[in-house]
């Protein structure tokens, strides 16, 4: 009896199931990011107006805290997605899949660390006695400086490394037999758009069009993974050829 149960328990999930779970994590990442960007930061942060930003954050402190939670959930689920995609793409090319995974880990950790700067305004604006050596206006300005640092870590560093990751995922999809090529093209274009964040002036001049490819590419891949998964039989063929 026991020996019969054992193989089932140690059996790996099918590639299609893994792909669907990856789709779930991707969707969770996209939704939490949209929540934080649209409903929290865009609403409360007024660019170049330190006083208004400070007033907004302190008046909606719990929303700001929920924004932090959303950020962290997004980064954590992206790391889960990264691990699943590593497994999924390993039969295509193990080295490329590993390089991509490393890129995504760097990007995720850098972005998670950027949450440090999301929390900084709460400390600066918290009216602690030791901070009274600064004027209110100075504390508000410092809070906005930290938010600028958050944006730089998130966009100018994090997104660049995500760009390299998306580019590699695109190449891996193109070289795979179990996912449609068009998704590979879209992800590669998404990746290249993100890599442009290396040059902030270029990004400013291309706003908001620069986000078209990342949006289209990632949403299509998410939906495909969720609905279709991968072609199981072809995945197994490619895996057995790759010797793993």
């Amino acid at each position: 009896m026991n020996t019969l149960e054992l193989p089932e328990r140690i059996a790996e999930a099918s590639p299609r199931f893994k792909a669907r779970i990856a789709g779930v994590f991707y969707l969770l990442t996209i939704l939490t990011r949209m929540f934080v960007e649209i409903l929290v930061r865009n609403r409360l942060v007024v660019s170049d107006d330190a006083a208004a930003t400070a007033t907004n954050i302190m008046a909606h402190e719990s929303i700001w805290q929920w924004g932090f939670a959303g950020d962290i959930i997004a980064f954590a689920s992206y790391i889960a997605l990264t691990a699943l995609l590593y497994e999924l793409f390993r039969p295509v090319n193990r080295s490329l899949s590993l390089v991509g995974t490393f890129f995504s880990l760097v990007a995720s950790v850098v972005q998670a660390l950027s949450s440090l700067f999301h929390l900084a305004p709460l400390i600066l604006l918290g009216r602690a006695a030791y901070l009274r050596v600064f004027t209110d206006e100075q504390l508000q300005a410092l809070a906005l400086v930290f938010l600028r640092l958050r944006a730089a870590a998130y966009h100018n560093i994090g997104l660049v490394f995500f760009g390299f990751y998306c580019l590699l995922v695109g190449i891996l999809i193109l070289r795979s037999n179990f996912l449609p090529r068009i998704l590979g093209v879209l992800m590669a274009l998404a990746g290249l758009s993100y890599v442009l964040f290396l040059s902030p002036p270029l990004v400013r001049s291309l706003q908001p069009y620069i986000l078209v490819f990342p949006g289209v590419g990632q949403i299509s891949l998410t939906l495909w993974l969720l609905v279709m998964g991968v072609n199981c039989q072809r995945w197994k063929e490619q895996a057995s050829i790759a010797g793993k």
Partner: protein, 246 residues
């Protein structure tokens, strides 16, 4: 026909071409690092002089911006090199190679993140209206402070790169497919970077450590680019370790 095509598409690169690609990324890591550190950071940042540093950054704004981008390209190449080197050294010791890759990756994350403090001076010196609540001297001091934090972040990363160099050097010595002397040089460079465990010592020894590490790194890069690895011995060691396919 179809399976043949599939095999071609799914095939892994040979150890020698992997070694060459690793060498290319290693070389670009070194060159971009030297450029950003020597020609941007070293030229524009005046140690202990916030006003001069601020003036330099503002007059050479686009060079400073370029330095930031080059720093990121350096780290992207470093990340790629770390993943590829893991694969290459795996036959010499799988667990040690994995440990080395994780330490290298940690170094990359720390160094990449600390670059946010490199770009920060542009925000505080940019003349935004809301910063008028600080005096010019205060903003300049703040800018130099951020640059110092960036520097210390890189120093933390150097310790991790030191451990990385120690382990990869050890693996090269143990390997049959790369000359031992390259491993010895790597170990010496790695020991040098560990001087940053006591930061003042690290900075005092920096010129010597950097020269030693550069010698080791460039010899390794040159070897990887020109000779690659001894492919037959690599395959022998890989199959002896039983992990050629895993």
């Amino acid at each position: 026909m179809r399976t043949a095509g599939m095999m071609g598409r799914a095939a892994e690169a040979s150890p020698r071409s992997k070694a060459r690609i690793t060498g290319v990324f290693y070389l670009v890591t070194i060159l971009t690092g030297v450029f950003a550190q020597g020609f941007v950071s070293g030229r524009l940042v005046v140690d202990g002089d916030a006003a001069a540093t601020a003036a330099n950054i503002l007059t050479h704004g686009s060079l400073f911006q370029l330095g930031f981008a080059v720093y990121l390209i350096e780290m992207a190449c470093n990340v790629t090199m770390t993943a590829l080197f893991y694969d290459l050294l795996k036959p010499a010791g799988r667990s040690v190679s994995l440990l080395a890759a994780f330490l290298g990756l940690a170094g990359c994350v720390i160094k990449t993140f600390s670059r946010v403090f490199f770009i920060a001076p542009l925000f505080v010196l940019g003349g935004a209206h809301y910063l008028n609540v600080f005096s010019l001297e205060q903003l300049q001091a703040l800018a130099l402070l951020f640059l110092k934090v960036n520097d210390r972040g890189a120093a933390i990363a150097l310790v991790f790169f030191g451990f990385y160099a120690l382990l990869t050097g050890y693996l090269i010595v143990r390997s049959n497919f790369l000359p031992r002397i390259l491993g010895v040089l790597g170990i010496l460079g790695g020991l040098g970077w560990l001087s940053f465990l006591y930061v003042p010592l690290g900075y005092r020894l920096f010129p010597y450590t950097a020269a030693l590490a550069l010698l080791g790194a460039l010899s390794l890069v040159l070897w990887l680019l020109v000779v690659g690895v001894n492919e037959q011995r690599w395959r022998e060691q890989a199959s002896a370790a039983g992990n050629w396919r895993s």
